[in-house]
């Protein structure tokens, strides 16, 4: 078995798992006033501080959520609503065209139901947003822009965006800037205060923590209307009883992965580069997608001309190689990746793509297993044809 799908979810770090199990044995609602509640609250607040410390934020800026999707929805919708309340003509929402669907679909929803005017920022053939283009947009529409959302790093092709540069442009115009950094934390340097963003999403299960817990780091001065109303937890921005063991394990995973980042990045980048070299040596016409330099350490994304990504996935799965086409699913049917299409790829190339993503537990043996299976799978998939290409 070779697990090459860390961008989908990572195995839990042993220390995070231990912390989870220990906290799950304790009783207590962090909102309760008695000793059990105080015990739980202490665990939650220590976790908040640990995350804040390694992410360059103040503890009060960390708002726990049920994961990345919720944090993205809270940031885009919540900040839009709050900014529109301040000025009813402020209706423009800006997002890059390569965002995860948690941002893209939330923003589209605002367009369809809340009167938002949505602008998608284009990207170049490496998947990068052009700061000049964004600067032009801010100059033209600055007054009307309610919120901007650009991911720190792309989940499919791994391209890292120039976030501090973009955030500075937004900040100069008084526009709150959100970034989805679920793929970036623990992989590349991420510092909330230094980056100048107003809001930042991170999540547990992409960095060795549990699924179902994440956070929106939200600047103290940023107004955000809640999605969830109730008990008023988390600065009144996110009601709901906190998941104490989840939060504790999340914090351990964030702290561990951020502290280990340099060593991790060196090792995994080297392993990734070797994977890329070996894949291109084995399948010479494969196309290495994304930005070769400004990219997540563990990400290797290819198009295999003449193949369906779906077919390759099926054939590799049958040999115990786990990877992803990286594309979104609608009605269970694989659509051509919107990321590849935004990068200028045609339908056939977008459908022929496959993502291998490495993580803390990846080894040389995983590469050997992949390279043993890949040539046969590519040959087979080619024979099956690019069946979805226009006839």
């Amino acid at each position: 078995m070779a697990y090459l799908d860390h961008a989908a979810t990572t195995p839990m770090l042993p220390e995070a798992l231990d912390a989870y199990a220990a906290a799950a044995r304790e009783i207590g609602n962090p909102s309760s006033l008695h000793a059990a509640g105080r015990g739980a609250r202490r665990l939650v607040e220590e976790s908040r501080e640990r995350i804040a410390a390694v992410i360059g934020a103040r503890p009060s800026e960390v708002i726990f959520t049920g994961g990345g999707t919720e944090a993205d929805n809270l940031a885009t919708k919540g900040i839009f609503w709050a900014r529109r309340d301040e000025d009813p003509t402020r209706l423009r929402v800006v997002a890059s065209s390569v965002e995860h669907h948690a941002v893209l679909d939330a923003v589209d929803w605002l367009g369809r139901h809340e009167g938002a005017e949505v602008t998608h920022l284009p990207v170049d053939d490496a998947g990068r947003v052009d700061p000049e283009e964004f600067a032009g947009l801010v100059r033209a529409h600055g007054e009307q822009i309610a919120v901007v959302s650009v991911q720190w790093a792309n989940n499919e092709v791994g391209t890292v965006q120039p976030i501090p540069e973009l955030a500075a442009l937004a900040s100069a115009a008084g526009i709150p800037f959100h970034t989805d950094a679920v793929q970036a934390v623990g992989q590349v340097p991420v510092d909330f205060a230094e980056s100048g963003v107003a809001a930042l999403t991170l999540t547990g299960h992409k960095l060795g923590g549990p699924v179902g817990v994440g956070a929106l780091v939200l600047g103290r001065d940023v107004s955000c209307t809640p999605l969830l109303h109730g008990g008023g937890q988390e600065r009144d921005v996110r009601s709901g009883t906190l998941d104490t063991p989840g939060v504790v394990a999340f914090a351990v995973a964030v702290e561990t992965s951020v502290r280990a980042r340099l060593e991790y990045a060196d090792r995994v980048t080297a392993l990734r580069d070797e994977l890329v070299r070996r894949v291109l040596a084995t399948v010479p016409d494969a196309i290495y997608n994304g930005d070769p330099e400004r990219r997540l350490p563990g990400n290797a994304h290819f198009s295999f001309p003449g193949c369906e990504g779906d077919a390759l996935l099926l054939l590799l799965d049958a040999q115990g190689i786990y990877c992803s086409t990286g594309s979104a699913c609608s009605a269970g049917v694989a659509q051509p990746s919107h990321v590849l299409l935004a990068m200028g790829a045609d339908d056939a190339r977008a459908r022929s793509s496959l993502r291998f993503s490495l993580g803390h537990d990846s080894t040389e043996a995983d590469l050997d297993a992949l390279l043993a299976a890949l040539p046969g799978a590519v040959e087979r998939a080619r024979r099956a044809g690019a069946w979805k290409t226009p006839r």
Binding site: D310, L313, L314, A331, G332, R380, W387, K388
Partner: protein, 362 residues
């Protein structure tokens, strides 16, 4: 063998996949997404193309313990089945879309892709028997028998098909599904045409073909008896819904005898004029030697069989019926069977082009 199980989300294909795995095959489940917009197809437990069906299929695959994927066949399905359905009606014929789906989708597009990917066969939950002798036979459960819509398959297609349910009645299949812990055990059978959401075929065709008023005429006198909004809305043998202004001279009911797209005319007449004793058909799939073959023929889905002698030559099939049949529509399949205690054997099939009356009325 490496076997691809086409899983609709219904009970039959789930049990078929489970049985293939139990027989020792390396089985992979695939659900075919056929609807371009799942919301426009039949919902609930009736079709095979909805999101819910896809989830049911995936759940069944998980219980059986096999890999599961969704293959997007919407474009192929639309081109080969839906468009064909509309074109056939526009040409005055009565197509069978289920048959067409087996021929062009399940055992062509899917099978070809499966073979290219290294699979040896496609297994489905059809109720028909396909034994080691390679002969296609009716199911044990005659009420559920689907050999009629599979008879279009060629020898090469049959060689790569597996129908593990043919020896089982539907009741036993359901019981087996329940015993295997498959939640689809009680799922109702699918009916009708999956891509016509409300079951209103005439409305569906009107939406595609538009309204095209024309005459309804008497087949014997040529007299105009009424008008219609589109000849595609009629089927040979149809009696209801003709709305004729002029009563028949003899006061007896009239039936649709023929549909002529060129003149946009629907011809009607008395019941006896529907009777045919000779059926000609095209594109035969024939597993027997040529020459005159005494057999039984079935002329529509779920129709009765008629004794006949069948000749196949030069891309045509001619059947001389021993007793006249009524309501024979061009576009339907004629399927020839040889009665057999082990299940009637499919000898071949072809697409009906015409039914005629050669002998004088009795």
């Amino acid at each position: 063998m490496r076997v691809l199980a086409a899983m609709s989300g219904g009970v039959d294909s789930a049990v078929a996949a489970a049985r293939a795995k139990e027989a020792g095959h390396d089985v992979t489940g695939v659900h075919l997404a056929l609807a371009r917009n799942p919301q426009t197809y039949r919902t609930g437990a009736r079709g095979c193309c909805t999101l819910e069906d896809s989830r049911d299929a995936r759940r069944a695959a998980d219980v059986i313990g096999i890999p599961f994927y969704v293959w997007d066949m919407a474009d192929e399905f639309h081109a080969s089945v839906v468009d064909d359905f509309v074109e056939e009606y526009a040409a005055g014929r009565t197509p069978n879309p289920c048959l067409r789906c087996n021929e062009k989708i399940k055992f062509e597009a899917v099978l070809d892709r499966a073979v290219a990917l290294g699979f040896d066969a496609v297994v489905t939950g059809h109720h028909a028997r396909l034994g080691a002798d390679g002969l296609l036979r009716r199911s044990v459960d005659l009420a559920k028998d689907q050999s009629y819509v599979l008879a279009v398959l060629t020898r090469e297609q049959l060689d790569r098909a597996m129908f593990p349910l043919g020896d089982w009645t539907k009741d036993r299949v359901r019981a087996e599904a329940a015993a295997r812990g498959l939640a689809v055990a009680d799922k109702p059978d699918s009916h009708d045409i999956c891509f016509i959401a409300d079951g209103d075929t005439r409305g569906f065709l009107e939406g595609r073909l538009g309204s095209a008023p024309g005459d309804i005429v008497d087949g014997r006198s040529g007299e105009k008896l009424g008008t219609h909004n589109g000849a595609y809305g009629y089927t040979i043998g149809q009696r209801k819904g003709l709305n004729l202004r002029v009563p028949a001279a003899d006061g007896r009911p009239r039936y649709v005898l023929s549909i002529t797209p060129v003149t946009n005319t629907v011809t009607v007449g008395p019941r006896e004029d529907l009777e045919v004793d000779t059926v000609t058909a095209t594109r035969p799939i024939w597993h027997e030697a040529s020459g005159d073959v005494r057999c039984e023929v079935q002329l529509r889905a779920h129709g009765d069989v008629v004794p006949a002698s069948v000749t196949v030559s030069e891309g045509n099939l001619t059947a001389r019926l021993e007793t006249p049949a009524r309501g024979i529509a061009a576009g339907q399949a004629i399927v020839a069977y040889r009665p057999d205690p082990g299940g009637d054997i499919v000898l071949g099939s072809a697409t009906i082009t015409a039914g005629t009356r050669e002998s004088a009325h009795a």
